[in-house]
Symmetry: C2
């Protein structure tokens, strides 16, 4: 698999490409399946339909890897926290974590209940061409913990910051619990057939540098290193979003570092390019214009020439973009000379 080879820094016939949120609302085929499912969470719970939307971008765009269709919040959900996706709003936990009892009540056997995810993986892997990789994923402990304490999205991170400053032990206990569950969850994804795993730390930039390494990166590395020790043939990709100013502190045994678009690719190359394969980092709104795509592709490909690289966006795809532009991007990268 070209994608897996690239994750390990091997020579490949072309730079592989996939796109975060490539199975999504910009595809009418996706919207049709989602309609049938009734809502987003139902779709995550229905292996046949989840498998179908996972495969769509492979057929439609020709990307080199599929990423499991699911959501990072199914994990806290199966740990016992009610989860709502309301129309036009972000995800919500109506009863966020507050007390020590709330922590104690979290179901540490959650990975056993996420069977619909493993079934989705098996279905996808059966139908996916053997040269295409399937990427499994999870949210980082910090990002999940933030959702679980804030009860949803936040601009100020007030609640979670209060916990960090007034009761860091509470936060550490929660992060440790999540780390245990996430290792089991990703391990079960691997056993079900994924060829690589990515950990998304979407809210990394909510933390100051020292706090990022203490409350987030440490646990991501712990998950990565546990998996690498047991499954060395499975590449591990870490994607902390928005930490371009913290790159000199990045450490650990993992394979691929995901670069967000706010981090200049030159800077990532200088700081991390000798140690890790880099994945990224086209600015997503460039997909609105073919010219902007070509300019961005040239810039990234020229910078990474001769270095180990997987092409991706620097954040997820937007719902209102033109699939023809996405296709144009994939072809531009795969045919780049």
């Amino acid at each position: 698999m070209i994608f897996v080879d690239a994750c390990f820094g091997k020579e490949t016939p072309h730079t592989p490409i996939w796109m975060m949120r490539q199975a999504g609302r910009y595809l009418s085929e996706y919207m049709a399946v989602r309609e049938k499912a009734g809502n987003f969470l139902n779709l995550c719970h229905a292996p046949e339909m989840a498998a179908e939307v996972t495969l769509q971008p492979i057929d439609i765009l020709g990307v080199d890897a599929a990423i499991l269709f699911s959501d990072i919040l199914v994990v806290p959900n199966e740990m016992g926290m009610e989860l709502q996706f309301l129309k036009g709003e972000g995800p919500k936990f109506p009863k966020p974590l507050e007390t020590v009892e709330d922590l104690e009540n979290l179901d540490m056997e959650a990975s056993k209940k996420l069977t619909y995810v493993y079934e989705t993986i098996e279905l996808v892997r059966k139908d996916l061409a053997p040269e295409k990789a399937l990427i499994g994923f999870a949210g980082s402990p910090w990002t999940l913990a933030t959702y679980m304490i804030e009860g949803g999205g936040t601009k100020t991170y007030s609640k979670v910051k209060k916990v960090i400053y007034s009761n860091p032990k509470y936060m550490e206990t929660l992060l440790e619990k999540l780390t245990v569950v996430l290792i089991e969850y990703l391990e079960k994804q691997i056993l079900a057939g994924v060829n690589a795993v990515q950990i998304f730390d979407s809210w990394a930039a909510a933390l100051e540098k020292d706090a990022f390494f203490k409350f987030s990166w440490k646990y991501m590395v712990q998950i990565a290193e546990t998996l690498k020790a047991k499954y060395p043939h499975i590449p591990v990709i870490l994607f902390p979003k928005g930490v371009g100013a913290y790159l000199d502190g990045i450490y650990g045994n993992f394979d691929v570092f995901g670069v967000d678009w706010g981090t200049p690719i030159e800077l990532a190359k200088e700081k991390l390019g000798d140690k890790y394969v880099l994945q990224g980092n086209l600015e997503p709104t460039r997909l609105y214009s073919k010219e902007a795509i070509s300019e961005g592709v040239s810039h990234i490909m020229e910078t990474m020439q001769g270095k180990r690289h997987i092409f991706n966006l620097g954040h997820g795809m937007l719902p209102d973009l033109d699939r023809n532009n996405a296709k144009f991007l994939v072809e531009s990268v795969q045919n780049y000379k």
Copy 2:
């Protein structure tokens, strides 16, 4: 004035401190005046009341500088764009810029209509102790342009990015117009009595590195250098939020660089500390806890020891914080040994 001296890198008896959004909702005295005004925009328009809330943090917290109470969006408002502040929502321009005609209709004489701002400055300067500085301010051309095109806050910056990629000339014309108006506006603030000016580029991080320098920084520097040529005794502070990964590109003739909390102060010191006075960068939620304040203050003060520095937060104050903690911060910095 200790604050102005520090802006020019002179030795001062203590490190001066002020806080972004120091006149704000966390003060009951502020809320009382705002109630009287009826709403936020009325308060901006009423010099007596705006002067009163500008002065409150000086009396209550003992900070070394007052910052004019106003809003960056009064400028596009006086350029002819209707502005709404709806309860519980961010600011909105119900008729965002779309056509070339919209651009042509912008009132280039707006600075002459912002008399309520200059009156506020005169009133404040009359009542402010002579050793305390008054800081004037404006939004950056890029940040204002983004509001004017998006029509309000945005997570994806879709509209403004489409303009950049499909019609960069439109954006440049808008940015040039704003630059002209903002120079006149800040000049009139200086003539009314402010002792320093700060330009807030709140949405700097919406841009990739190259785009940031092309569409934002260039115009900020243009404003700064025009003012410095005419008013060399007035310090100019530039605050582009979220560009910690772009610091090696910062250039221009201005006095103080504002460091946001996502940029490690060590990094800012290394990259810019020899060229500019640095202002910042305590993480605002540290104000929830005295311990977190002390830890943050020690870290920043130790790092900046012997370097030119003005203490501030790395972003605005939050509405739900305890004023006693804010006071504790001010004293910690002013008495730091």
